[in-house]
Each structure stands twice: as structure tokens, then as C-alpha cells.
Amino acid sequence: MEKPTYYAMGDHTEVISIDFDPDLISYSELLDYFWQGHRCERNNSSTQYQNAVFYRNDEQKKLAEQALKNRADTLGIKPEKVATKIIPVKTFTYAEKYHQKYAIRGDIRETIDSLFPDAKSLADSTVATRLNAYLGDGIDQDTEKFLSELSDYALPQSIVDEVRGRLER
């Protein structure tokens, strides 16, 4: 299927795709987060929600396979018992805009949407990614550092005020 949508996904899988600066964090470190962030002993029967590393080159494949073995060792199981797949990326399609940066909700969403013309620009924005991370929860957050950087983002003042208000509560 060339153009999957949320309601017609064909054989596509919902994924998170992370553009990262390898001088700041390595692929192996991201793999560590991935393996710690899901239960690898069982996999979902639907392709849409399967657990998988989608590698982009031989090096990523090699690192992912080694990480699988390490995870199996940590869990005390044989690597063959790990159900998470390691498969190559074929095509990647951006999810619809309303699926992007889901934690940016409420009064500021409309203004954020107006700053980014399409799903790709919203998804690829570092500013929007950080807003989404800090307005959501469940991650290690250095809120003070984020708030100190907020003025560097040149966002409309209404957003700055709203975000500051939410995070300082």
C-alpha cells in the first residue's frame, strides 16, 4: 500500500521515527530505551502494532541483533524466545497531523497547528517535539532547563505563557 492512512493501513506498522544527532546520543543508547520500553517476550498479532526494530543499514542491523541478545541475557531467556522483530525499513509515511505531538493539546494546539503547515513540518520540528515531551509525562524531565530555553524558540508569547503556566503549576 503506497499511501496508508490510520483507517486503511494495509501491512504498515505504527512506529516512532527519531532523527538524532549521533554526537549527542548513539543508536545503541536509543536501542537501550527501546528494549527497556516494551515487553519483548510476546508480540502483537497485528502488523499495525507489532514490536520491531526497523533498521536502515547493516550497522543498525548488527547493533539491533546484539541488543536483542543482550536483552535476552538480561531477562534470562534464549534469544529465540524474543518475539520482537528486527526488519528493514521499506517505506515510511508520516501519520496524519492530528496524530503528531499528541501531548500538545488544549488552547495552544490551534496556534501550534498554524505554525506548521503539514504533518511533516510538525513532526520534524525540534521545538514541537520538546513541547510535546514536556507537556506530556513519563519522561525524565529537566523542566527548569526547558523553561530557560523556551524564549530561544521564538514562539508566540501566548504559547510561552501557557506552557510556562502549565509546567510551573
Binding site: 512506529v15 527501546f34 520500553g37 502494532y49 514490536n51 547493533l63 505554525l115 520540528s125 525540534t126 521545538v127
Partner: protein, 39 residues
Amino acid sequence: MFNTRIKEELVTESAPVSSLSFDEKIAKTPYETATFGMG
């Protein structure tokens, strides 16, 4: 934790991803991409 570096050729976005100057600056940074399905 591994110490191996990815040898993939780095790419740079050719166009700004948004009109925010911070994003424009970040978009010039070479990057790699990691893709995971997590159920």
C-alpha cells in the same frame, strides 16, 4: 551499552522544517534516523 558508532552517511535537511529560527538552526545539524515499532 555499546560504544560502536553508526557509519551511516549523515544527511542534512535541505529546507527548514518550520519557520521557527530554532528549528532552522537544528535542521542544519547532520542526523541519523532510528525507527521502532512499540506496540
